[in-house]
Symmetry: C2
């Protein structure tokens, strides 16, 4: 059994590697044609998709999954149209492959250029909704990469039909067979096998809960780019426009609390705390947000729960917020750099020097002045679709788009140069 | 014993992490002053260095190391001056930290920039000469990183005094204490401990033999950038200038055969093989190069050894060369992509289309037209000093200079923007 899982995964990875060699040199015209056909086929074959999806949804109900989980799983006419539209948006994005990032001439006449090229084979391991299948496949193809998809078992039938449609549509337009692989084995052993295949897979991007990420990190021999979690902070400075601060903080916590770029801790300068916090906290409480405050916060707003160290470390992903009053910018930066997961932080201030210091000294993937951490997103940044967000420091940091699915090679034009 | 090694390594790594937080925001002026003082002190304290070095050299002789190994270890007045000059060259290089690579405005007014910042703590594990100690420390500091050095035991005393001088000189000019760490434990357990410390070390660069690299890859929890070996190819096309081809191929094999960018296999188009090979091989043989040829090569030049599959895979690092006659460009590219280690390959041709296809389709870090693979080097490329060469595809590929020792963060200037 285990040997046969290994063989199956290796075979798929080997086929992806072979396909990637052809895919790397396909013109943008061919890749865009394939993407357009994928979009069209997703809509034309809607009934097949809905039928497969309903099997996943029935199974999820039978297993007693939460209504929120079932909603994430569910596809309908409108969501399928959105998926197809998303593919067409990727068609409209510039192709990063072949771009010469820089080129220079050496004293000996050698002309040296750095050219973007595909990475090769990307492995995606994810727990999310079925639309992640389409996003990952389409972004990988556009950047000239083959892709191996391993989705969550709860979306198995939806993912299976989606990858079949993608594969068929792509091959009809000249994408080499094997470029889109779906691991149709729900056994966890299949993931473990993927993680070892550094001869065939060039990069693995896991998306999901901390458990999944930890397993991947423990066992991967293939390079991995990921983020664990988003423990995001907003610091309201002494010199903040308090109305703006209230608006941004409210948005960052409440607009969509279950995502990684939502705020988890609000830091407030002590000089404006008594003016700002009672009103802000009342507004949060009206919206159903539970507050956990430091001692000073409790003094200003009695009756709320006291925060512990655990609260500074926690990613709630829910309508809960930790609040801390700090002495100054230094204490705010120190607190953030100690507890952050390195995703996104914001300062609200009109002080030029405080803004500049915050941007410099906070060591996170995205650092904001006077804007909501919820804006950390490939679309919001103008990168087009997003394949994930990295809190790693190597290769890609922050929202990852098409460019982050490429590497570069040096191309060198000579006229007989040798090493002296 | 093992626990105490662990504690010692963790303590050094923790100190480096602390130092890195201050180092990240030091001005170029301060960093350059520190580098200049390091250069001056290396020369002023030459006697201490030579004394320590002579202990390493004596021990190496007693252990019966080869004269070549001993020569690599040996320092003298001239080599120390070269080392100091190398440091001053790094002073002259632009500081990559703080450079805003790109910046754009979104429709909602958000201004988004990508700014280069230091990676944090770099771990170097190396077997090479003592000057690698200085290169690694100085490049890391200039790029705003703390560094943990773990050199080969044969250079222990030399490395110890060098790192002491670097540390003292740097601290005198405002580099935070702890920024330059030397692992003064020769037990291999110390390397294993380093590899686990992903809380403190952000990147490990191993430089050395395949054995070292494999150990690092097996055990590392910290991201690693490396190259195993350099199995470099030169393909002499049908349309080559044969005099240029001979000159480049000779340079690539003979100028310094023991390094990773030397040529290991020469591929020759069958249409010009009878014209090119006998003369080329005679020249190689005169220079003491042992040839291992394919059947067609043997037919053209009788009396040479026949190549086996092993020869196509081998990095000789010596005056040995594999030679293969190929039918056409396709076979050449296929052979290269199958056997290469991904470091450097060259085509010699006057055909525009052959040159363009070779640049596109050969999947290596550096691809040349009409130049020697020996040019793959940070200095030759104009990157200044070189910290290593990567055959990885993520983060850095090919020669790595100061820029490759940085990452980026997004800095976002808002005016109250929230997520709609």
């Amino acid at each position: 059994m285990s040997v046969s899982i290994q063989n199956l995964v290796v075979e798929k990875a080997r086929a992806a590697k072979e396909a990637s060699k052809i895919l790397a040199y396909l013109s943008t015209v061919v890749k865009n044609r394939a993407l357009n056909r994928i979009a069209a086929q997703i809509q034309e074959r809607e009934e097949e998709i809905l039928e497969a999806n309903s099997r996943d949804v029935e199974a999820a109900k039978a297993r007693g999954l939460s209504p929120a989980m079932i909603d994430r799983l569910l596809l309908d006419h409108f969501r399928i149209k959105l998926m197809a539209d998303g593919v067409r948006e990727v068609v409209a994005l510039p192709d990063p492959v072949g771009e010469v990032i820089s080129m220079w001439k050496r004293p000996n006449g050698l002309i040296i250029g750095k050219m973007r090229v595909p990475i090769g084979v990307i492995g995606f391991i994810y727990e999310a909704r079925p639309n992640a299948t389409l996003d990952a496949a389409v972004l990988s193809l556009k950047a000239g990469n083959a892709v191996i998809l391993r989705g969550g078992s709860e979306a198995f039938h939806s993912n299976l039909i989606l990858t079949r449609i993608i594969d068929q549509a792509a091959c009809q337009e000249g994408i080499p067979p094997g470029a889109v692989q779906f691991i149709d084995i729900t056994d966890h052993q299949a993931v473990r096998e993927m993680l070892k295949l550094n001869d065939y897979i060039d990069l693995i991007i896991p998306r999901g809960g901390e458990g999944l990420i930890r397993t991947v990190l423990e066992e991967a021999r293939v390079p991995v780019i990921f983020h664990y979690k988003g423990n995001c902070h907003i610091y309201v400075d002494r010199d903040a426009d308090l109305a703006m601060a209230e608006n941004i903080a409210f948005n960052a916590k409440v607009q969509r609390p279950a995502v990684c770029n939502a705020m988890e801790t609000l830091l407030v300068n002590e000089e404006i705390a008594s003016q700002f916090l009672p009103r802000m906290i009342a507004r949060f409480q009206e919206a159903g947000v539970e507050i956990r405050g430091c001692e000073k916060t409790l003094n200003l707003v009695p009756g709320i729960k006291e925060a512990t160290t655990e609260d500074w470390e926690k990613e709630y992903l829910a309508l809960i917020l930790a609040v801390k009053v700090v002495k100054d910018l230094d204490e705010a930066i120190q607190h953030i750099n100690r507890y952050t997961s390195g995703l996104s932080e914001a300062i609200i201030t009109n002080s030029y020097s405080a803004a500049q210091r915050f941007l410099q000294e906070v060591d996170s993937a995205v650092v904001y002045v006077n804007a909501s951490t919820r804006l950390t997103d490939g679309n919001q940044f103008g990168l087009g679709a997003e394949i994930g967000i990295s809190t790693q420091k190597l290769h890609a940091r922050g929202p990852m788009g098409l460019v982050e699915l490429t590497t570069y090679k040096y191309i060198v034009y000579g006229s007989g140069q040798v090493r002296e």
